[in-house]
């Protein structure tokens, strides 16, 4: 099957404008005859749902939390990019486009990325109008700061809580629409099945998490904005409920999954304390501007860091990368930290941490300057770890943070399944093999406010759906499949907890499909995953019943899906024998040990087709062609 990206013809900078003009429109009076389902209420889902409702469509919105406002977009700290060029420092739509495509290591689609940069300015206008209290300069204009991977100041922010404020803005729009009859919110619902009728996405089956009932809903199109799948590793910076079940259900019904092995790892997170660790907390990478990374030279050195003399410390980043030192890119910093820990030089209780030392910087610029720059981060560190980073080095460790992969979508953000749209982190669309800082928020809102409302109309104006009710056999079958899965899980009554399996899977993926990958490890993981999955289905212990509020059952279903999806990640990672974006493929390095991208062989999007659990998926390639940008290799030595 040849994948068609449906990128319109014409010059890159004219494509979206021309395409909007060429689109078919739904008569305003007819919009109320169409039903749209939106799954997920983060930035992408909330903004899309509100915008659809404003246009006049009937919208049903579903989220797993108790309120749309809890979605994990709320936790984004840093900021949101836009090409406003308010600081007059040479930014432009083209530059934002260029930085994003280069940052993604040339593994994303030119036309989608250009459109993202193009609508970025509208997002800031929209958010300000909604009352987002962005930081301001003393003249009353909006303040900007710079962020990793960019040489201009284009990041808008609201303290360290930009995600929260943008998300509350989008939720405000959602609440405004929910007060009208054409939008309804269904909280504490988890999508279990996507319903396909006559080849088109026409509805979903959800589990009501309070009473366990299965509920069916029909629609003319389904929008998945259910976030990323970083929690497959068990430990990540994602929220506890973040999962892949909605997109995985769609994948099993025929939606292609693109680049599942593209995951981003953040180098400066709080370290793991013990087996009980439930999640990882991120700290701003700016810490590396002044902190020096080191481990003891001697393996298993248990002395207090302040008692280890200078000549017994290994400042491994400074030694290995003399030019960039502690400021090497995220993936290099992360990879080296893990390497040191694997060598037995890791510090802290678990040996899963390295030091980040501010002693020299404090001497150089003074305690007050350190406080002014990093005070809030130091406070946060102290509060979580109980240790004072002003008097001893911080401990840091890399953590899974964001997933660039997701369901394959075309220029309309529609998957290969007609009527199934995928927005935000759940799609693969804009970040290639690596996402730049402050671009996730931009993409979520671009998709929801300014892309999906247009492309949905174009689809609905042409679709001609037959009437479909939930008593149709396609819904009966989907409900039965969901019911069978639940009953099967509850009947196992084994000896191991859900988290126990999840941790085993997570560690396997972290060790074999994390920052650096090689063929031997990937092969090992491919053997191990089915074994864990089989044991899970024989030996998992889930207390409680299906007809009640049962959080263990919820987690079990998500882990069951992760155990299937993990195999796909390994297949994808095995296929991509190049170092690219966030990951190093050990077989693909330059003589100096730098990541080597192979544009001649791997300049494509890997779109995988589901062929059955445990069966090898089929790879479809969407070749990436670059008309505007020239491909370059990065260097940081």
């Amino acid at each position: 099957m040849k994948l068609n990206s449906n990128v319109p013809k014409g010059k890159l900078k004219d494509k979206w404008t021309q395409y909007k003009f060429d689109m078919k429109l739904v008569n305003p009076a007819n919009k109320r005859k169409y039903n749209i389902i939106v799954v997920g209420t983060g930035l992408a889902g909330a903004s899309a749902a509100a915008s659809y409702s404003e246009l006049g469509y009937n919208v049903k919105v579903f989220c797993i939390q108790d309120s749309p406002r809890r979605a994990h977009s709320i936790a984004a700290q840093g900021g949101i990019n836009a090409a406003k060029n308010y600081p007059n420092d040479g930014d432009s739509i083209y530059r934002l486009f260029y930085d994003t495509i280069k940052g993604g290591d040339y593994r994303s689609r030119e036309a989608n990325v250009y459109r993202l940069a193009e609508v970025s300015n509208n997002i800031i206008d929209q958010c300000v109008a909604q009352g987002v209290p962005f930081a301001r300069d003393y003249d009353g204009t909006l303040s900007n700061r710079s962020f990793g991977g960019a040489l201009v100041s284009r990041t808008f922010y609201a303290r360290g809580q930009t995600g929260q404020q943008l998300h509350l803005g989008a939720c405000g729009a959602l609440m405004k629409e929910a007060s009208k009859p054409n939008l309804e919110i269904f909280p504490r619902r988890e999508m279990m099945e996507l319903v396909i009728h006559e080849g088109k996405a026409r509805g979903i089956v959800v589990r009501n998490l309070i009473n366990g009932e299965l509920e069916s809903y029909t629609a003319d199109m389904v929008v998945l904005a259910s976030g990323g799948y970083g929690n497959i590793y068990f430990l990540s910076t994602n929220a506890m409920s973040t999962n892949s079940s909605a997109i995985w259900a769609a994948h099993k019904k025929g939606a292609f999954f693109a680049n599942p092995c593209f995951v981003q790892i953040h180098p400066t997170c709080m370290p793991v304390h013990g087996e009980y660790q439930s999640k990882l907390t991120l700290m701003s990478e700016s810490l590396r501007n002044d902190g020096r990374v080191w481990v003891p030279q001697k393996k298993g050195d248990k002395r207090h860091p302040n008692d280890i003399p200078e000549n017994e410390r290994d400042y491994y980043l400074e030694n290995k990368y003399p030019t960039f030192g502690n400021l090497v890119p995220r993936d290099v910093a992360s990879r080296n930290a893990k390497e040191q820990c694997d060598l037995g030089k890791g510090v802290g209780n678990t040996g899963l941490a390295v030091y980040l030392d501010f002693k020299e910087a404090t001497k150089r610029i003074g305690l007050e300057a350190i406080k002014a720059k990093y005070g809030n981060l130091f406070d946060m560190y102290k509060q979580i770890t109980g240790k004072d980073p002003y008097s001893e080095p911080m401990m840091i460790f890399p953590a899974i943070h964001y997933t660039m992969g997701g369901l394959w979508v075309d220029y309309n953000l529609m998957s290969n399944l007609p009527g199934l749209f995928v927005l935000g982190e759940a799609n693969f669309s804009d970040h290639g093999a690596n996402r730049l800082g402050a671009s996730a928020l931009m993409q979520g809102l671009a998709d929801g406010y300014f892309v999906a409302p247009y492309t949905a109309g174009n689809y609905l104006a042409q679709v001609n759906n037959n009437e479909l009710t939930t008593d149709h056999e396609v819904f009966q079958e989907a409900e039965k499949a969901a019911k069978d899965k639940i009953e099967k899980l509850l009947a196992i009554k084994g000896n191991r907890t859900v988290d126990d399996f999840h941790k085993e899977l997570g560690k396997l993926l972290w060790d074999n499909c994390g920052i650096a990958r090689n063929e031997t490890d990937l092969k090992k993981a491919l053997k191990e995953i089915p074994r864990i999955r089989e044991e899970f289905w024989k030996n998992v212990l889930i207390p409680g019943t299906t007809d009640s509020f049962n959080q263990t059952l919820e987690r079990a279903m998500r882990v069951a899906d992760f155990l299937e999806m993990a195999e796909l990640m390994i297949h994808d990672a095995s296929d991509r024998k190049e170092s690219c974006g966030c990951h190093l493929r050990e077989e693909s390095q330059t003589e100096e040990g730098e990541a080597l991208r192979k544009d001649n062989e791997y300049s494509y999007v890997s779109a995988w087709e589901f062929k059955g659990v445990g069966k090898e998926p089929e790879l479809h390639k969407e070749e990436l062609t670059f008309e505007e940008v020239e491909l370059t290799q990065r260097s940081y030595k």
């Binding site: 404003e54 939390q65 108790d66 309120s67 406002r69 809890r70 994990h72 709320i74 936790a75 406003k84 308010y86 206008d125 929209q126 958010c127 109008a129 909604q130 009352g131 209290p133 962005f134 930081a135 301001r136 003393y138 009353g140 303290r159 809580q161 929260q164 404020q165 509350l168 939720c171 405000g172 729009a173 609440m175 405004k176 929910a178 007060s179 929220a239 506890m240 409920s241 304390h273 013990g274 009980y276 660790q277 439930s278 907390t281 509060q383 979580i384 770890t385 109980g386 406010y449 300014f450 409302p453 907890t497 988290d499 212990l541 207390p543 409680g544 009640s548 509020f549 959080q551 263990t552």
Partner: protein
């Protein structure tokens, strides 16, 4: 690694209509670096393996921003440490041999779903009533068209950072939601773009708040003390001023 032994006295309630009770569990060798919720995870792993039902509790981001978690610990919403949620509370805040009494938020407007999980949808209905600026997608002017002084933006941000957890209601002897509503009213009415609907907004939100069964404010200030984002009581005062305006307007016209 420092560890402590503790007893947790936890509110157990099968569902919204069942009668609840306290249950005691002993936990040994709890690492003091554990977060409070990780301690509950450990409790639940143990309960599950011994064939009992785990404790139902809400949590999501576990970094203090989503507002999903919350419990009253030894009488204090979000526990003994100021300006944190229970996901950011750590076991080093407790001592060896201590008993922790853990209860759900208690308010007529927040019915129990199970154990310490409550239904806070009343907050969403208050927001639906008017907690927003009525702007449609794409109908806006340039973001710098309206200048806002840094002080005002910062003050609005102080109010806007409410995480909607409900601790203010749990802390209040009257189970009042004035701090939650006041924070939103304040955030939006401070900004020029929010002033247009200000009077209508406050009237609609306060009406809905009363309808949901939240109590009145009697100036106990407990809400502000227990707020993990330290939202100031002055936002309630601002809301009251706006409400007086709204009332006068509806009477005089």
């Amino acid at each position: 690694m420092k560890t402590i032994n503790i007893t947790v006295k936890v509110w157990r309630q099968e569902n919204a209509v069942a009668k609840g009770h306290f249950e005691d569990y002993k936990l040994t060798e709890i690492d003091t670096d554990m977060s409070f919720l990780e301690m509950l995870d450990v409790l639940n792993e143990g309960l599950t393996l011994s064939g009992e039902l785990p404790l139902a509790f809400d949590s999501d981001c576990r970094e203090g921003i989503c507002g999903m978690c919350g419990a009253v610990v030894n009488g204090e919403p979000h526990g003994p440490v100021k300006a944190v949620t229970i996901c950011q509370l750590h076991m080093r805040s407790f001592t060896d041999g201590q008993t922790l009494v853990i209860e759900s938020w208690r308010s007529k407007a927040f019915p129990v779903i199970k154990d310490i999980v409550v239904d806070r949808s009343a907050f969403d209905r208050i927001m639906m009533a008017g907690g927003y600026i009525s702007v449609k997608t794409g109908t806006t002017t340039d973001a710098n068209a309206n200048l806002i002084t840094s002080d005002i933006a910062e003050e609005a941000m102080d109010a806007a950072q409410c995480i909607g957890c409900g601790a203010c209601v749990a802390a209040c002897p009257n189970a009042s939601a004035m701090l939650f509503v006041g924070a939103k009213v304040s955030h939006l009415s401070l900004l020029p773009q929010g002033k247009i609907e200000c009077v209508e907004r406050v009237r609609k939100m306060v009406t809905q708040m009363d309808k949901e069964g939240f109590g009145s404010c009697s100036n106990e200030y407990e809400c502000s003390v227990s707020c993990p984002k330290e939202i100031n009581i002055s936002h309630i005062a601002r809301m009251n001023r706006k409400m007086i305006k709204a009332t006068i307007k509806s009477v005089v016209g």
